[in-house]
């Protein structure tokens, strides 16, 4: 195919600013989807994605468009995940494009996530086509948003297109702009093959399918390919383009976007960002930008009934087939039994995995308080990675601990700056900088320990700013922190699943809150139950669940017996779901409640 007729582009937009609707209009105009095949927002095809209104995994689609210049163009729309947890995947999707449509809601204006993705696109030299969407809304502030965009990307006012994806107004103009403004892909047809893997999916019949963009050379059926990072070689059984369904072709050449199938059994072999080469004539260097995806957030995931352990393992194995970012290994907890320590890209990723396990695999799960990974500098000079607080060596065994930090961008109307600063201070934020997107909205940069934001930071931020704040972050590295391990003891025995690594200044408060929360949840038993928070051997907080002192039904005659028995049977059923710690029975809720400590 002549690369001059190919345009590869993506859409950058905040949640709800109209990305999916705009994509749907493109599909209609280009007749990629015939009437009747159309269901709203074709690109987001996972239930969860639709419910949450976000795109979790990137997808791509190829459209044929007869432009005003009478030429038939091939337009490859590459979708980008819309959440910070997946910023690396975003960067790889962007790397497959020459242009990006920046969609901004006419009423909402520019948001943090849009900006961070936009900056990535600008860094990657993509041509930006600014579009103000929803211009028909009564609350549209077109001039204000125009100015924001001009300030943001330094474009001319005339370059900004006005559209309503919902009504279709201005949509064709956007496609024309893609053709006239976005450069055609450039590559060396005769050079050895180099294709970028920007996504992969798992098909139970065909194995891992790589979504690729050919940069140099050509890929064709029957060819032996080699993945740069793994060095593994596979024979291509099928290549093709991504129409509404996969359409096989003989080959894909420079600038083309499509898929390849090569009997690859594991998505770990089709790593996002990897370079596919010709095994018989490998290029000397890979495409730039590959990064190993590292989990940032860890939590113990346990079945509520121990018999479900094998089912949980099977479910995790299956999920991982489609989610190379998911890592897990078996974990044994004294309190919760057998389960897995699972690493996630971020909190959203964690929620999604949890929900899919429960919904798609029917599992009843208990997830421990998530934590980050720490670098523990041992007295003998070794550096040990600790992703489970229970594994932290005793205080004498290490010199200091480092924790991961992120830099964050928070965009808020300026009247909320005070609230944001208050929250940031509470979360050990390090203030860096404030700039203004427009006279009413500030763009504040802070550095935070990651552990301070994985928990409920975004919810808090939203509620302190009446929902106006938008938030984005990037990992920047490890910094030394004054951290301690806080243990929770029940009648003197530490409960491993409740241990947590916290900043020394917060330990007391945290311990007190957990103890009082646990007191609410642990039912009274026939003996006293002591709940203590401890740092090492030092007890910093204590609550007591008093022993049950009287528990006897006064009347139990003919008409009371059934009711009484049922009540006790029900109690027993509740107990069956409790976790036994020594003599003490603890409801599962206790392990969840710690997630809700305020």
């Amino acid at each position: 195919m002549n690369p001059a007729t190919i345009r590869n582009f993506c859409i950058i937009a905040h949640i709800d600013h109209g990305k999916s609707t705009l994509a749907d209009r493109f599909l209609e105009i280009t007749a990629t989807v015939r009437a009747g095949e159309m269901h709203d927002q074709v690109l987001d095809d996972m239930d969860l994605e639709r419910e949450r209104g976000i795109t979790i995994k990137a997808h791509a689609i190829t459209m044929k468009y007869a432009a005003v210049d009478k030429t038939l163009y091939t337009l490859n729309l590459i979708d980008t995940p819309g959440h910070v947890d997946f910023s690396y995947e975003v960067s790889r999707s962007l790397a497959a494009c020459e242009g990006a449509i920046l969609v901004v809601d006419a009423a909402q204006g520019v948001e943090a996530q849009t900006i961070s993705t936009l900056y990535q696109a600008i860094e990657g030299d993509l041509t930006i086509i600014p579009v103000i969407n929803k211009v028909d809304l009564p609350s549209a502030q077109i001039d204000v948003v125009k100015q924001q965009i001009i300030d943001l990307i330094g474009c001319d006012e005339e370059e900004i297109l006005l559209a309503s994806a919902k009504s279709g107004k201005g949509v064709q103009e956007i496609l024309e702009a893609v053709i006239s403004r976005v450069p055609a892909p450039v590559g060396d047809e005769n050079a050895p093959l180099r294709a970028l893997v920007f996504d992969s999916v798992y098909d139970p019949y065909r194995g891992a399918i790589a979504y690729i963009r050919v940069v140099h050379g050509e890929i064709h059926t029957g060819m032996d390919i080699k993945f740069f990072t793994t060095g593994k070689v596979f024979e291509i059984t099928e290549v093709g383009t991504l129409r509404l369904k996969k359409e096989p072709t003989q080959s894909l050449s420079i600038g083309e976007v499509g898929y390849c199938i090569a009997g690859i059994k594991d998505v770990l072999d089709t790593k996002v960002g990897d370079t596919i080469m010709d095994a018989s004539n490998p290029a000397s260097a890979p495409l730039p930008g590959y990064r190993e995806v590292l989990p940032m957030v860890f939590a113990g995931v346990f079945p509520t009934v121990s018999e479900d352990y094998e089912d949980l393992r099977t479910a995790l194995d299956k999920l991982r087939l489609n989610d190379a970012a998911l890592v897990f290994e078996p974990e044994t907890s004294v309190a919760l039994g057998f389960g897995f320590r699972v690493g996630f890209l971020g909190l959203l990723h964690m929620e999604i995995v949890q929900e899919r396990l429960e919904r798609e695999y029917g599992l009843d799960l208990l997830t421990t308080l998530p934590n980050v990974e720490y670098k523990v500098h041992m007295t003998d000079g070794r550096i040990v990675d600790v992703d489970n607080p229970a594994d932290l060596p005793s205080r004498g065994g290490y010199n200091f601990i480092e924790e991961p930090y992120i830099t964050s961008q928070i965009i808020v109307p300026k009247e909320f700056i005070g609230n944001v600063m208050k929250l940031a201070m509470d979360r050990r934020g390090i203030y860096k900088n404030t700039s203004y997107i427009d006279p009413t909205r500030a763009d504040i940069t802070y550095e935070f320990p990651l552990t301070e934001i994985i928990f409920d930071f975004f919810d808090k931020l939203k509620s302190m700013t009446k929902g106006y704040a938008s938030f984005d972050y990037d990992f920047i590295g490890f910094k030394r922190g004054d951290l301690v391990k806080l243990d929770i003891l029940i009648n003197g025995d530490p409960v491993d699943a409740l241990s947590h690594i916290v900043h020394k200044d917060k330990a007391y408060d945290w311990g007190r809150k957990i103890c009082s929360k646990m007191k609410e949840i642990i039912p009274r038993q026939m003996f006293e139950v002591a709940i203590q928070a401890a740092i090492g051997s030092k007890i910093i907080s204590r609550e007591t669940v008093r022993a049950m002192r009287k528990d006897v039904t006064s009347k139990c005659y003919g008409g009371d017996i059934t009711r009484k028995r049922k009540l006790l049977e029900k109690q027993k059923e509740g107990k069956r779901r409790m976790k036994q710690l020594g003599k003490v029975e603890i409801p599962q809720d206790a392990f969840l409640a710690i997630l809700k400590v305020d």
Binding site: F527, V552, G558, T562, K564, L568, E569
Partner: protein, 388 residues
């Protein structure tokens, strides 16, 4: 359908009279106030129900040894009405010669003359709902009777020649002082009843009392204080010759309520009237609660049964434990093992270890019987729950 369970024990018969002149604030029994004019239709329906069970297995072949008129307020019935019921029962069912016939009365609701009439009808045991001997507490409980009426009723019971009298009392009222409770106990003893039921006030869901507690108008007594009251009650009554033979029941030797004991020892019982429960060794079933519904269904020749359950073997086993432990005599493990064909000690090893090693122990062995300790009485439900 499974064959009726074998039972060598005699059966119990219960008649529910759901009418009251007024509803009490703590009561969660099925009763209705100011509906006495319905009584004749109710009794007609009752007779129809009696007629049905007279010809129905296993009841037609049972030997009954108790009749119990409960309520409600059975003393709203006239002696001829009571006589008619007893006569009807004795005509269609088989009763032992020494059948215990208990009649519940509320103080002030029965005249001396009526009392004689009940005795003539065959009543030989009276249960009086005295509840308290302090006017202020009767008021707090929203009872319509006075202390004097209680005493007068006892006198008329004795006058009618009843030698088996039970007095009901309630303790652990919100704000009650130990001395006040002791006063009621002492006054009750002065009347020399053969039997005393002393109930720890229970705040039942859906009662006016429970709503007052929920609204913060009434503070229930703390558990620690309830322990004190309960322990005191047991000690005081035992000291005066009343055996603490069940959680809330105390009797002079030989005067334990035979009827109520049948609920606890696995005997069959036939309950007649609205909301009454029956048990035939396998199946427990219960009548509709509404007396209007009860009358209507029987009028249309339908059984007024509202629900039933077939007890599984584990359920029967558990009920035997739950009801056994409520009694001083506890669980006879040899009988238990024979009936359920299990080795009790090995099946319940964990529970037995846990409950005997508790400090202080909650259960103990008395020869081949498993019984609650003093501390165990206080935690009877929690102990039973271990065996589910």
């Amino acid at each position: 359908m499974a064959a009726p369970a074998k039972n060598s024990k005699t059966a119990a018969l219960y008649i529910h009279i759901p009418f009251c002149t007024k509803r009490c604030d703590y009561c969660d029994f099925y009763t209705v106030a100011n509906q006495e004019h319905i009584i004749p239709s109710y009794l007609a329906a009752l007779e129809t129900e009696i007629g049905h069970y007279a010809a129905t297995p296993p009841w037609q072949i049972q030997h009954f040894s108790t009749i119990y008129f409960g309520g409600g307020t059975p003393s709203l019935l006239t002696p001829p009405q009571v006589q008619h019921i007893i006569k009807t029962l004795k005509r269609v069912f088989t009763f032992t010669d020494d059948t215990e016939v208990t009649f519940e009365v509320n103080p002030g609701s029965a005249t001396q003359e009526n009392m004689h009439g009940y005795v003539d009808a065959g009543v030989n045991r009276l249960s009086i709902g005295a509840q308290s001997f302090l006017p202020k507490e009767l008021q707090q409980l929203d009872r319509v009777h006075s202390v004097d009426e209680t005493i007068a009723t006892v006198e008329s019971v004795r006058g009618a020649g009843i030698g088996n009298l039970s007095i009901d009392l309630i303790f652990a009222l919100p704000g009650q002082r130990p001395s006040n409770w002791r006063y009621s106990l002492e006054r009750a003893l002065e009347l020399q009843p053969e039997h005393i039921s002393a109930y720890n006030l229970t705040i039942e869901q859906g009662t006016p009392l429970q709503r007052s507690v929920a609204a913060g108008k009434v503070y229930p007594m703390s558990e620690g204080r309830q322990r004190l009251f309960y322990n005191h009650t047991i000690g005081f009554l035992e000291q005066h010759g009343y055996s603490h033979y069940e959680v809330s029941n105390y009797a002079k030797p030989g005067f334990e309520s035979r009827h109520n004991s049948k609920y606890w020892d696995g005997s069959f019982y036939l309950g007649l009237g609205a909301s009454a429960h029956s048990f035939d060794g396998r199946r427990r079933y219960w009548n509709v609660r509404s007396f209007a519904q009860y009358i209507k269904q029987l009028k249309h020749a339908q059984l007024p049964v509202a629900g039933e359950e077939m007890l599984t073997k584990p359920q029967r086993e558990f009920e035997t434990i739950m009801l056994g432990l409520r009694q001083k005599s506890g669980i006879d493990v040899r009988d238990f093992e024979r009936e359920y064909e299990i080795d009790f000690q090995s099946k319940y090893r964990n529970q037995l270890t846990k409950l005997t090693s508790h400090v202080p122990p909650l259960i103990r062995w008395h020869e081949s019987r498993l019984v609650l300790t003093r501390e165990g009485w206080l935690l009877c439900d929690a102990v039973c729950a271990e065996f589910v």
